[in-house]
């Protein structure tokens, strides 16, 4: 198959796990003999890591100012609105890039990932116009985001864009489908559930089991923020320390809310808690097996969460919010431990581990097996491949012309932008 992948970011340009998963799947599909070309944005800021030469990655798209959030915070309202139009609705230059790639590659199918920042609605409309079938891999509520302006969903825009929202959807959790459809956009066509995966070319090392009585080592990796539940974790830790339990917490990742350090100090947890800052992915993987559990008190709308899986693959037991994306895929007390999302409940689970009421060893073993077997990328590539092949088989051939599609996008953008400018001026 000739597959055209479209993603706002592609490593080494990366912000989170979405684009990493994209790159992993691209590599797997190429290994299986498919011709996979990636169309993505030019780096928003210069890359620190060298950009590997890859003739099958075209970095020509614009990513508006979506990826420069600080820049946007200082922008005027109008600039912000227009940037959001280019981020979500349409960016004619990106429609042009996409249609040109279609002309040059004549792909069988488009494989879409995160389109926020690229004017995603315009891109999907462009694909519909050219008659190129697509498979859209959702690890976040992208269709919902694309119908928003200033944080508000535009129901009319949902209605207007619905006709082009028909294709094959690969979604990582049922809550994600529910979240998107509750907001408005319907995922028309075929919906398949595929979890986020781990890509472990070599068998990872195993963490040593926790022995009751010894200090419990807890790790978390990801963004440090309220929505991720960092404070819940710190509060739980505070309770356990107050009870005399010995627990340490390693926090790996960027601190989005600096006040979290104050929380640590106020609870006198500075000796138990270590902020490691953002580390390279390899370094994170090396650190994980030094802990016994991976705490993940994330918010309910968390679409998935790969880090707990990576921990599980190393025999580090995930302790999860009972209601979040990855919780749909793992069984409580079998592969993981689940707790209602509160400091008390998380403290309770950790306490039970330390007192020996919960034996981590069998859970750690089963978690590792499940992670490496059921959540290995190799397990899911055939399903993705099949979805792409099925979508490609529906193609009635390419239609339309690049010039016309580009012109229509230009016209749409020009009319919408000027109308918004006038409305804001009024």
């Amino acid at each position: 198959m000739k597959i055209l992948v479209v993603s706002n970011l592609f490593p080494p340009c990366q912000e989170g796990g979405y684009e990493v998963q994209c790159a992993q799947m691209v590599r797997q599909l190429r290994m299986r003999g498919h011709s996979v070309h990636v169309l993505t944005a030019a780096p928003a800021i210069p890359l620190v890591a060298a950009d590997p030469v890859d003739s099958d990655v075209t970095r020509t798209m614009q990513s508006s100012h979506y990826l420069r959030r600080r820049r946007m915070m200082h922008a005027g309202q109008l600039t912000q609105v227009l940037a959001e139009v280019a981020t979500n609705f349409v960016c004619p230059e990106n429609v042009y890039s996409l249609l040109r790639e279609i002309d040059e590659l004549e792909p069988d199918v488009a494989y879409l990932w995160n389109l926020v920042g690229l004017g995603g609605l315009g891109l999907v409309s462009g694909l519909a116009y050219r008659g190129l079938p697509w498979v859209w891999h959702l690890e976040d509520a992208v269709p919902r985001f694309l119908c928003q302006l200033r944080g508000r969903l535009l129901p009319h825009l949902v209605q207007v864009s619905q006709p082009v929202m028909r294709g094959t959807w690969l979604v990582c959790s049922t809550r994600l489908v529910a979240e998107i459809e509750r907001a408005g956009p319907r995922l028309d066509g075929r919906v398949e559930f595929i979890p986020a995966w781990i890509d472990e070319p070599r068998l990872p090392p195993v963490a040593s089991p926790h022995v009751p009585g010894e200090p419990l080592r807890v790790v978390y990796s990801g963004v440090m923020a309220t929505f991720k539940g960092t404070e819940i974790l710190l509060d739980a830790l505070g309770q356990l320390h107050a009870e005399g339990h010995r627990v340490t917490l390693d926090l790996i990742g960027p601190v989005q809310e600096p006040r979290l350090q104050d929380v640590v100090n106020a609870a006198s947890l500075h000796e138990a808690v270590t902020f490691h800052g953002p580390l390279p992915h390899d370094a994170v993987l090396q650190m994980l097996p030094r802990s016994h559990v991976f705490a993940f008190p994330t918010h309910e709308r968390e679409p998935f969460g790969v880090a707990p899986l990576e921990a599980a693959a190393r025999g580090v037991v995930p302790v999860l919010s009972e209601s979040c994306g990855i919780s749909e895929w793992l069984v409580d007390r079998l592969h993981c431990l689940k707790a209602p999302r509160s400091p008390d409940q998380f403290a309770n689970v950790l306490r039970q581990i330390m007192t020996g009421e919960i034996d981590l060893t069998p859970i750690a073993r089963r978690a590792r097996v499940a992670a490496l077997r059921d959540f290995s990328i190799a397990r899911w590539v055939p399903k993705v491949e099949q979805a792409l092949a099925d979508a490609a088989a529906t193609s009635a051939g390419l239609s339309g012309r690049t010039a016309s599609g580009h012109r229509a996008a230009l016209m749409f953008e020009q009319i919408v932008n000027v109308t918004l400018e006038e409305m804001m001026a009024a």
């Binding site: 116009y129 599609g405 016209m411």
Partner: protein
């Protein structure tokens, strides 16, 4: 009117939805197969004709062909983009009204499968490399008919009651003739016309319906388009692009005086169906003998009506437009 011509020419096989965007949303059937559909405006731009509507996509849902008139307005631009996105056969027309240029700038006309112009002059105003078909304007020659006994007691001015040419014209209309100003799109007052010409009795008729326009035109010596002789441009369109007023006058057997600009000479032939004047002085010279030269007026009026019967009946336009749509839909 064009839509009505199409539905009638199709003998009921085609229906036409006349879609617009405005303040009074609603849908009504004008006659079998012909629906007027005003979509609610979602925006309030300075020029209400640039309003957009969220319901535009739904309005295109069942279309076999999309014909976008006033193609360079914003709502039209969106309609064009939507039609292209859906691969709907698309033709566009432009009536020449002034726009903010947004849609024109990005070459909207190049998205059409076909450009339909109502005159050669109008065709030249549309920047496009797409095929252009000229479908001359038409008039309902069964409604606009000559009077059995035309009074020929007035000069009818078609257009807004203002501008130097209008004043010049009124000053030069022979005293024996009355003056009627027909402003098909007018909504406000007489712009001080009567006070500037206190010695003349001027009848100003704003937005008259078709039968009233017909009555005025039937009994006129001549219908004058002052805008085409140097005054300001008619805000709803350059007169030559569809030439509705001259056609109505000619259908009523009344000659037309106009300028040579804006393609009007494609409709008004000098000294055959009216007079083509070069400037306001020329206009005055043409007006002066009209009160007495009834023979010329009647001759040109008959020739004008005959020309309408031959080439510009609405039925003819309907057949041509229907053929155009049918080709596009194939």
């Amino acid at each position: 009117m064009l839509a009505r011509a199409v539905t009638r020419a199709s003998g009921g096989e085609w229906s036409v939805d006349l879609v617009s965007i405005g303040p009074k949303p609603g849908r009504c059937t004008l006659e079998p197969g012909l629906v007027s559909w005003e979509l609610p405006a979602a925006t309030q731009p300075a020029d209400p004709r640039d309003a957009l509507s969220w319901e535009l996509p739904a309005a295109l849902d069942n279309a076999d062909v999309v014909h976008v008139h006033e193609a360079f307005r914003r709502g039209s631009g969106l309609a064009i983009a939507l039609a292209v996105q859906r691969h709907l056969p698309l033709c566009i027309s432009d009536l020449g009204s002034e726009t903010d240029g947004l849609v024109r700038e990005v070459g909207a006309a190049d998205l059409a499968d076909l450009v339909v112009a109502f005159s050669g002059f109008g065709a030249g105003l549309i920047p496009t490399r797409r095929p252009v078909r000229i479908v001359p304007g038409g008039v309902d020659a069964d409604v606009f008919t000559p009077a059995e006994r035309p009074k020929r007691d007035r000069v009818v001015l078609v257009g807004p009651p203002e501008g130097e040419v209008v004043d010049h014209l009124i000053a030069n209309v022979p005293r024996e003739l009355g003056i009627t100003v027909l402003w098909p799109c007018g909504q406000d007052g007489d712009a001080g016309l009567q006070s500037r010409h206190p010695d003349r009795e001027i009848e100003i008729v704003m937005a008259p319906p078709g039968d009233e326009r017909c009555q005025h035109l039937q009994h006129a010596v001549v219908a004058v388009l002052p805008s085409a002789a140097g005054s300001r441009v008619d805000p709803v369109g350059l007169p030559g692009l569809i030439a509705l007023s001259p056609l109505e006058s000619m259908a009523c057997g009344t000659p037309v005086i106009c300028g040579p600009a804006w393609g009007l000479t494609e409709y008004v032939q000098d000294d055959v169906t009216g007079w083509v004047v070069r400037d306001p002085d020329d206009l005055s010279r043409r007006l002066l003998p009209l009160a007495s030269d009834r023979v010329s007026v009647e001759r040109l009026g008959r020739q004008a009506r005959a020309r309408v019967e031959r080439a510009w009946r609405l039925e003819v336009v309907g057949v041509e437009l229907l053929a155009t749509y049918s080709e596009l839909a194939r």
